[in-house]
Symmetry: D2
């Protein structure tokens, strides 16, 4: 008797996989929904459908782990893939890891099954994690491998009586977790189409956002947000509050051009209110405590981190190296940042840290080194020495 | 009879230089004010004071040149020194160049004089330009070399009857040009002090900004903005309109930590409405027409450009190399971007270009190459091959 | 009647393609051998075999074009993919381009055919070029798509009477062109296996190399080598002479770990005597004429160039951008470099250029700026200001 | 009674400082020679001269500390400042640190004194270290501040009877420590002057080097060399043996253009046999155990490390970040590398590590993932997708 473990969201693609796998001889179907902060209704619907179809259903609530071990490092790295805070991207490795854990716990799993298509990024992220944590279990991706279309899937589901709800009217493809929400598909792909207000659920419209600005203080310890306003707590609690606060003011809508792993350029819309708020505050604090060269180079380290995270290579040795660099910087990223939220915009009003490399004394040259401004003449005169030599050569003709 | 050319703003520091130079035996004083878009009243006041003090006064109106040859390249490079669009920085080289031209035209100049202190960046920028274009003329910087303080300067000005106006009450140090406005000094240096509303003059307060969003279209040709809304024209005209539009909506206030050339970290406030608007639009268009690797690397090229521009090394050979790269990219940066301005915030609503690397056909795999999603399996399976090998080694223990 | 154009080397893989294509219904077979400087015997053998098998055979001698348009830019970019001067990599795009040209000239070609396997890099390089220059012609890769093995191919060739010579004894897989020679396969893949002397043909063994050092002068104009020793001429002539000279002294053997496009790490052996000599000389000259920041950043530009060249993305827009940067630098890379060759080693003995940023006067501070060393105190005192502040914070505990 | 501590090498510049400081009222002179591996005769001569002149002389033997805490990290970072393994640069911070320690131990020191001129790099490196570890003690640099010339110094030394030996005939300026030897000055500054054989003392001439190649195995544990040939031991012992072995074969001569901290380009000659050998072996091992992206980026991390080390900013927080990255990579840099040394040249013959990311199985696709080459078609077809789109736009005209 063959057993398949389906990484199950409850949506059309993964629901269709259940009868498909049965047709391929997998009599036992284990479904797993990993709760990374998607709407509770989605988690419940997945459980209902899985049980309705006679699967052994598992739910793994990893919200705390996701916040502490995935979102917090993303803040430390100022997660930014060309404007995208990597919300879906950093959840996939954890989902794959949990799937491998459940497969080992359940035992006897002959195949993993996921519902990704062949055009997206998630196939790379999920399969990498599965292959890493359960290298001996084959992976099946029926939607991709059978070249299925949405229409075929809906017809098939109706034919076999799989519960897919009102999916036919669905226009947008949504993915949600604690770190953000992505809305794709249809006309949204056109880079010049203005996204309709209806696609947003976490962030208030400009009209609906409060008419008064709100100032909020974010506190970090060693790069981790430990308090926002009056809410102190775990990363999960702070991120949830950040989502709520920033979302209320319409902060966190993202509309960008993105380059997918297979080389396609696409337009993407996200709403990541908490991520946008917390990363902006984190950046402001880092700017206060890092040296000039350190700050300039960390931008490159962060860019590499974002590339790896986008690719889902969460356990790559290079990721460990980057995290070692980033972690060393974070030791000093403690302090507070005051932000003003208003009508979709956000401003840093002030920042404070015991590790600030700002010194009133140094800034005013009133220092133990008793530096006098007259001593700077030599430095000014040597500024651009090689450039001046070059200019002389150019003039020479 | 010795002759000095003073790079003259009409402010305290440079006004004090006039009698100081006379005391040092410079009987003839030529003053030069370079009009890069500062308030007309400032240009007039400088002329009045210079003439009152018996100087041969020159005014060079370089606004068109500044917009076309300095601001436009800054847009192409997405000018960004840790958040600062380099407004003061890119004007200094042009001021120095004009000073050298005037010195050569006037003839017989024995010394350049500028009013920079020994703590700032402008001494590096100005002297580099002067030395480059007029290497044979010595440069004097009395404020720096004589270690003068503001109090001493005011007392001295009163003693010798130099016209310095109400300078004693002046709290902020302001620099203005077409590309932006900087406000420094006093309590503003404290990173945690919230800047008072009064320091801003180009950008509306959140309260005063219009209650309705405004959508504006920006058009670029080969990286140069040629139209904003209904205003087409030279870079000067487009930038002026951008300042006006973005300023009206309170867009363009900048509050950052900055690392000065001598190694000091300081807090800086700027308002650069036009720069912020035009660079955001330019970035959005570049994202549409560049490949993934190109885009990632141009961020590094731009960062190097910003470092050189901040240092004032405008004619460095490296700057020419970077501009060659940037210019090659710009050939395709033609098209339009729609932006929404509202209450200090700004959103990209859409972008369009004949050079877009977005293709509806490619995105839907409906292509002459007739790529099927089932063919992607191999790519997914090789994703992270070296990482997987590494994980195997780690597990081996 | 269907027509196929085979990119034909005359080796086993491509020879087998001829009958295979016939079996798939391609009655007309056009073969093309592109002469990029491989041994003349190979070019002749390919022609003989193609004609023996009744193909319409074409030879394109592109050696001058290859040297001027592919090798010369590689010198300007100091071509270096982790030690590999990209000899095979930069020939593939040109081969694909010629194949597309011949296909258009011949007319009626229904398919391109190449002999690459699914593990190597050349499939990516060749297909990219074909698809770019002839997007409407499908590409077939029978060895990859039919999952053929070497043994199967040999048996098949014997069965159908295809002329493959003594191929069964062949141990190493060789690729040769003007820019270098690669030797792969068998035990050579083991990173710890010492390559036997017999694999090398272009470079003398340490024992056989002359007992006396030889000094040679290389002259560049705008980054292009125009003379080596007494041989002036086209890039082709200079590279040929460089291969001969460096090879005689055993210079140019390369033994590295390389990361292939599909993510495999492999050990590779090359001999690229001319490339190694010319690039070393070019680097030495660049070091003389570039500023510090320019030189440091060009290393990154060159690294990006090498990545793209390795991937075969010769006509990528990013490649054009990089070449714009590199070309701007090359304007000054004129002058001579003296190198000593001896027993597999190479040393720069001197370099000279009208664009040298070295100035005896500046180096001795004996300059028009009359800089005195006592003026440097201020610069020294501000060195590492932010670091010192950091140290003070650390000590504070 | 004022007390000065002179960082004392025994050479002309620092010897002259002794009477100069006495003239400035420092009655007590403490001299310190830090033994970082310079010739024993130099250490002895310094002691003799210091005592002859009535100073309280100290010697700090820090060779083991220098090897383990400064040279070993340099190996991990593949220390390379445009060809220079940073031999003098990494010794200066340690010398300054020891000077601060001695000053604190001795007590009552009113000033540090060093003999650096205003044109070199060492003034930056030494003063940074002194200021960091003893911020309250002023620093005097009489040669720089009094603008002294060599001739003046010699005359003065003779006048006051300071023991300076035959210094007048000295042509080259030498600096030596365990990690290498630099030779500067006179005609050597001319980039086109071939250095005479006489300047080299650690490396055999091509003629004098053995007529037979020698193969040597270097073993690393976590990035640290622990054995070379048959010599196992501390970093000091391994580096000493590497100097001896490589020097015997004439390996390690370096002739480069270098950009000094004040912006001057100069020609420099070094001989660093051990450094060159150990770093080449270390690089070869890193290439075996790192992923492609990791390896490409570590080159940038190493370049930043080299910049900071060149500047002497050994305790900069950015240096700590870089070392965290580098240290994470080093965990896997364990294994052996076989190198052949011969007549000034060096070749890697093989490398082996338990952490090799090379797998015979993966390389031959004979893997648990049972990847077939036919599955690679999709990856090949998507290769350069955006480039192809670009090409289509270009053709469109």
């Amino acid at each position: 008797m063959k057993k398949a473990l389906i990484v199950y969201s409850g949506g059309l693609d993964t629901t269709v996989c259940i009868p498909l796998m049965r047709e391929q001889g997998f009599e036992e179907i284990v479904t797993l929904t990993v709760d990374v902060g998607q709407p509770e209704a989605d988690v419940r619907q997945a459980a209902d459908r899985a049980r309705e179809m006679g699967c052994e259903h598992h739910v793994a609530d990893v919200k705390e782990e996701f916040a502490a071990e995935y979102c917090a490092p993303a803040i430390a790295a100022n997660a930014d893939y060309f404007g995208y805070p990597l919300s879906t991207a950093i959840a996939r490795p954890l989902i794959a890891k949990k799937a491998a854990e459940v497969a080992h716990a359940v035992g006897g799993v002959d195949a993993f099954v996921h519902g990704c298509t062949g055009k997206g990024n998630d196939q790379f992220r999920i399969e990498f994690g599965l292959r890493l944590f359960a290298p001996d279990i084959p992976i099946l991706a029926p939607i991709r491998e059978m070249n299925l279309t949405r229409t075929w899937e809906i017809d098939y589901a109706e034919r076999v009586g799989a519960p897919i709800g009102q999916s036919k009217e669905k226009i947008w493809s949504i993915d949600e977790n604690l770190w953000g929400r992505s809305i794709e598909g249809g006309r949204l792909e056109d880079p010049n189409y203005e996204p309709p207000e209806e696609i947003f659920q976490w962030t208030a419209s400009l009209a609906a956002a409060p008419g008064e600005p709100e100032t909020v203080e974010v506190e970090f310890r060693a790069g981790v947000p430990v308090r926002i306003g009056s809410v102190s707590g775990t990363p999960l609690q702070v991120i949830a509050e950040a989502n709520s606060l920033a979302g209320k003011h319409g902060v966190g809508r993202i509309d960008i051009m993105e380059d997918r792993l297979i080389g396609l350029k696409v337009r993407e819309n996200y709403e990541c209110p908490g991520a946008v708020l917390l990363i902006a505050a984190h950046r402001a604090l880092e700017a206060l405590v890092t040296t000039h060269a350190e700050r300039a180079f960390k931008a490159q380290v962060d860019a590499q981190w974002a590339e790896l995270a986008y690719q889902g290579l969460w356990w790559d040795p290079f990721m460990e190296d980057l995290n070692a660099f980033i972690g060393q910087v974070q030791r000093r990223v403690s302090g507070t940042v005051r932000m003003r939220l208003f009508k979709g915009g956000m401003t840093v009003l002030g920042r404070d840290s015991d590790w600030a490399l700002y010194s009133e004394a140094a800034a005013s040259f009133d220092d133990t080194t008793s530096l006098e401004q007259s001593q700077m003449t030599g430095m000014v005169r040597t500024h651009g020495l090689e450039s001046l030599l070059y200019a002389r050569l150019v003039r020479r003709g």
